[in-house]
């Protein structure tokens, strides 16, 4: 254990990125993906909404659980 602080982690990561030539903007940004999993998610949400309004979907796609 080296008693890392958040600041020290940032510094270590900055040094690591510099060595690897990486550019990191700090965003956990997933925009732009069109994976099947996410489309299923959207479909499911829309089905949920329509259920509270008029009509209802007859089936809900199995939702996969994506990871980190």
């Amino acid at each position: 254990m080296t008693n890392l602080t958040m600041k020290m982690v940032e510094q270590k990561l900055a040094a690591l990125r510099q060595r690897k030539g990486l550019k990191f903007d700090g965003d956990l940004d997933f925009v732009g993906t069109k994976s099947v999993t996410m489309k299923e998610g959207v479909a499911n949400l829309r089905i949920s909404i329509s259920k509270s309004g008029v009509g209802a979907a007859t089936s809900v796609a199995r939702i996969k659980r994506p990871k980190a």
Binding site: K12, L28, T33, N44, P66, K67
Partner: protein
């Protein structure tokens, strides 16, 4: 000190986040979730309410890629609190909202692609308003995910795992973890039986390979 005591100590450090549109600083705090109370439930409910509102305002709104649609954080936290394995539930909280969530699992035996003890980031997500901002809502914050990841590194160090992290990435998030500084090490099957790209962060082997050059 107990493991939970260690985590509590790490997870109360105040942090500073940045507003996406103005770069103004916003004070936030990393918190270790020890129990699930009504306030936490309500605040987690705000995530799905936000997405539902977006879709309700504009049915064609591009909300693809929001884990909020499929992930149930309340359930993840309950699982983490009840698990026989050592898991931790962590949130990033601003004044009135939960800005990000994460669960961690200790891997004392390592795994096929990371054969030493490390902390697995099981799930991590920034609040939907930070990823899919709505012009008429409160400003989105930037860097929540990085703050949570950095917290995981500190926790890993605190537990004697030298800051080592591993995770199974969504295919769409690989670029993020690469730019964060992690190394892709093939693929692994997760506990749900699905195969995901595996990423590792290991300062120790990095410094050894540097000194060996």
């Amino acid at each position: 000190m107990t493991v939970n005591g260690d985590i509590d100590q790490v997870a109360h450090e105040p942090i500073e986040l940045e507003q996406r549109n103005s770069s103004a600083k916003v004070e936030a705090r990393i918190c270790h979730v020890n129990s699930i109370d009504d306030t936490l439930k309500d605040q987690l409910g705000e995530w799905s309410d936000y997405i539902k509102q977006l879709v309700s305002d504009d049915p064609e709104h591009d909300v693809v890629h929001s884990q909020t649609l499929t992930w149930d954080w309340e359930q993840f936290f309950e699982d983490a609190l009840r698990s026989k394995e050592t898991k931790f539930a962590i949130i990033c909280r601003s004044k009135s909202r939960i800005e990000g969530c994460m669960t961690l699992l200790l891997m004392p035996e390592g795994s096929p692609n990371f054969k030493c003890p490390y902390v697995l980031v099981e799930y991590i997500e920034s609040a939907p308003w930070n990823r899919i901002p709505h012009p008429s809502r409160e400003p989105a914050l930037k860097g929540v995910g990085a703050c949570l990841m950095n917290t995981a590194v500190v926790i890993s160090d605190k537990l004697g795992y030298c800051g080592r992290l591993g995770l199974h990435s969504l295919p769409s998030a690989c670029t993020y973890y690469e730019s964060y500084g992690m190394e892709r090490r093939g693929e692994e099957f997760d506990s749900d039986g699905e195969q995901y790209p595996f990423f590792a962060l290991d300062f120790v082997s990095e410094s050894q390979s540097d000194s060996g050059e």
